[in-house]
Symmetry: D5
Subunit: 155 residues, 10 copies
């Protein structure tokens, strides 16, 4: 890359991502590593953004996604592309978290899934919705205990 003029031309022909269509079909998966017992996967999406459906103004926050996998795990690059599709999508914080939880649950069939959205304050009010999805026939208490093994104590 050697000439910013050229780069701007490149820019105009850059890859066109979908920014307003959160679509679970972009989520890719891989088989859960064996043995699957005692495995928890946590993903922090530190740069989540969407639009307020009423005012059209941007919202920013972080998603904290943790799950006990069923047969498949989500590939993180595809998760990033999926989350980028909320960029120009208008939805309340609660709805974003709900959709992410539902889409991951449908694609991964996890034994347990928790999604927390920690959004930046607007008007001095910060909203943190949380969605927990426990698969049928699973024991919520046991899976919560597994997921919460990381209690945050560290140097």
């Amino acid at each position: 890359m050697d000439d910013s003029i050229t780069l701007q031309a490149l820019g105009s022909s850059r890859q066109t991502y979908a920014y307003d269509d959160p679509d679970p079909s972009v989520l890719e998966t891989f088989p859960t590593p064996q043995p699957s017992g005692g495995l928890v996967i946590r993903l922090f999406a530190l740069e989540f953004t969407s639009l307020c459906p009423v005012t059209g103004q941007p919202d920013y926050g972080q998603l904290d996604i943790v799950y006990v996998p069923g047969p498949r795990c989500v590939e993180s690059k595809s998760l990033k592309l999926y989350l980028m599709r909320f960029r120009n999508h208008g939805a309340f914080h609660e709805a974003c978290v709900a959709q992410v939880a539902q889409d991951l649950a449908s694609v991964l069939a996890p034994r347990y899934l928790r999604v927390i959205g920690r959004f930046n304050a607007r008007g001095g009010i910060a909203i943190w919705p949380l969605r927990e999805v426990v698969a049928d026939h699973e024991d919520p208490a046991a899976l919560r205990a597994l997921v919460d093994l990381d209690n945050g104590a560290r140097p």
Copy 2:
């Protein structure tokens, strides 16, 4: 906006909010997103202020509001307007927290509600009242476990 003189005129005719009448009827709600299972909503009001009922001097603090919704959820802009009504209202910290908890409980009929006020120190003493409201026929332990899924560990 182009002229600060004009802006000051605008200012004198600015919208007149009620600042001394915490009134739950200003709280607006929306139907709880479905499915409602596994849903927790937390709201931090980072810029709460009221007046000391004895000295008339301002107090400052943060409200940490978390609930497991019943049929309806509180709309955050209306919550902000409701909380602004404590601005010139004289009440002790414990009473502010109690009133916010009671008003939200009456408007939302939540399965579970917890309100913590974390007020700035006065004379070297900081007061943090906490109010928990559990709906009749609900299991407090189960709802507390749900509400406390966020244990604070993160990057």
Copy 3:
């Protein structure tokens, strides 16, 4: 206030507080707000100081006081005046915490009371005594769970 000379005179006739007589009779109370269920009150005394009973040198620390009220609550200004009475009082950290716990328990008859002293290090050693008082006929586990609803996660 207009003349520092005058102010120094004022200073010499300033109100004389007791600084070496921790006396629970200075603690004032007010009736516990109703309903009392689900109510927890936490008070941080951020500027506690006393004297070492052996060396006479000052100690500094913070008191973390949390209780589930019985019929009455402690008024925070009077708590401040009560704690100021340790200023020139010689007592070990453990004794200060014990006395504060005992005095509050006797004055408030709380269902549950916990006092933690977090004292600054001396010679590289920091001492944090903790006193828990549970009223007769109360269930400690239930009250501890109530008191610990605030797990510290926040923005």
Copy 4:
């Protein structure tokens, strides 16, 4: 203080402060301690609040006030009462800072005065206006050097 019912009554008759009339005549002063050479006074008002003149919604911030005194210094309690008078006053951040600077300058006739307002973000934008007032015949560079002797390095 022993009965919250009584206290609420007290509250209704509490001292009535002016909250919407920033008036420099409430500022009290005392003679600058001698010798005045090499003296700098810095005051942080950590809980400043005012109203947006357009929307009527509250703003919050901190004022950082530092000055090299002339003949008189401001008494901090009166400064607090003066700043409380912005509570319900509608003015932009820049205007609040300008007024505080101008009022302090007129009352104190300081050799040097600097007022910085660090306001909480609104819509993701934080505004920090700064006003510097240097008395006639003073050397700004010398006074700035004096004021900036505190470079923030500490344990």
Copy 5:
């Protein structure tokens, strides 16, 4: 606002902002408060985002804008709307900072302007471009000294 179904409909008809056309004509100004001497205005845009012109992927950062005003100041709401127009705009960090600096300089004719972009790391590399614009006939050293009066020391 009372029905999230309705709200989604509202959302589809929400105000349509331009998100890919950074256009200085949306910047509104107001006359610089008098006296203009000793006045510095700093604005932090904490939620800036744009797109990488090569990969089309989002970038995030904070803009630190400080200026010594000439005849007019920028109104912060219009600044927010202007910066929102980088949201879907493809440009390198250096170019974003350069454009913001140039647009503000052309609209405000400031005596001095500095724009720093502090962008989140990509591939472990964080880029912070800085642009300084000094008006003709102004003394850079004097204006830098004025702008740098806030050295960051505070409680």
Copy 6:
């Protein structure tokens, strides 16, 4: 060491570590100190790095390893040498954590083992896999309770 020229020669003949062959046979152990009851060992590997198996680019993170020992404990210097062998090894975060857990489990036969990887964000997404291994015939709840005795509260 006295001449950087010489040192560079030394450098060319420096000890050749394996950097791409995570091999549990390099893990050394020592007998678990007696009594082994009530003993928990936690090791933080603060400078873990490996390569992305798809892009070949480096990843960085911290490993949080905690175990309740069986008959033997891992010697920390050998753990360091073992972890250094991931330096040029291509593996996903989940696989690195899984391999470390499996290798430690096979070498130590611990009663309980937990390995958490906290990797730096890539593309705004941070991945934290967790692996828990509980020996046959052990009670997971009891061992988790033992391991989690350190709840992070401290000065």
Copy 7:
């Protein structure tokens, strides 16, 4: 300091502490304050140091000692002198923690004792051994719950 000659003379005759003989007989105790129920004592030794038994190089860390007293409590000055005796003593981190736990247990006969060592990283690896000692006939779960009443939430 140059009358430091005199002081160095003082120094050469300074009290000679044992620095390489961790000996529990230097631990002094006092009777546990009554009532002993609900009492927890935590001591942080923030400046612990010992020597690596293999390389002879110094190690540094912090000890977090918490206990539910039996008949007697440890006096903190004597604890400091006891811990100073590890200064030139060669022992692994696990052995230091084990010895401190054993010595305190033998001298205090506590109902419950927990010692955590949080040592600074060496070669990028930090080791945190933990020792828990529960007296015969005591209920570990009840005592752990008592000891863990301080969950770290505070201003």
Copy 8:
């Protein structure tokens, strides 16, 4: 030390310090180490407390004392005893700082002395007075440059 009853008796006969008589004659000094060029000594008194001369209530803060020595330096233990004498002394923050500066200047005859008091907020206002004393015939700029060599950058 073996019996807290006895200790309380000891306490009543403990060394009697003066707590209300800031007296520079308790300050001890030692000859400045040679060569004295390029030497700066900084002392942080982290636990300073005094009384408000009007209300008699305690104030807390930290003193930051830095000097370029003349012929003698202050011994830190005696400084501690000197500062303890403000404990029950009624004086405004500015006066405390002024007195400390004056007393140190008179006892040490330093080439340069700077005392900053950083006091905890009262009513939301924190006061930080600063006193600089430059010996006659010294160059303030050169000594300030020497004193400010520590700019606070560190790991």
Copy 9:
């Protein structure tokens, strides 16, 4: 990406980067944006690693690179690839910093360049080398002043 088995195969054929040949020819550049006056570019390489030339063990640190461009600027992706080439390269901290400074200077011909390496401690000693390169005929003081316009004060 759909099968971790496949991915491991991919991994074995992954792109082969050079990890032990810091070669400035991989650095790509682009023309400096115009006008070039008042432009400073700072790049933080947060995940730098190399090998100790004596022991062969890894070192970790952060590079802080800031320059005033001449005709060309460095493209950040190519900088990342260049710095990755130190991964298996044995060199002292001072030599790494020197080489990065020299290579950037030769490729960019900057008016001013500063490279600071902030390396993690080894054996309790952290090394931070700094290299400054000022082009011939440039004024170091003026360029340093430009580069240091960012003094770190921010929310």
Copy 10:
């Protein structure tokens, strides 16, 4: 390493370092890398400890050493061994800093050297001595400016 019994034997025959004889002859050097212009080297010794010459009790602190090299630079491992020799050495903080500065100056003949000791508080008083050594015929202002290029601003 496989048996802690064996290791203790090893321990008894471990290398015997001198811990009470700060001796500059253990400092090793290497030729300053060329070109030497624009080179600054900073070393933080994070785990410095010595003994109080009066009480014999340990002191802890950090040394911040920065220099502009003359012909030779100090090798960091030898610096560590040199500083370890203060471990059992009785000397005041000022004397430790003075000796380190003098020994490094005599061994390195640096153009400029600055040593700051930041010692942990004793009795609430922290002492930070600073020693600056400027070679004859050097310009202190120019070298200070070079050394202070790192102003601490970073992510």
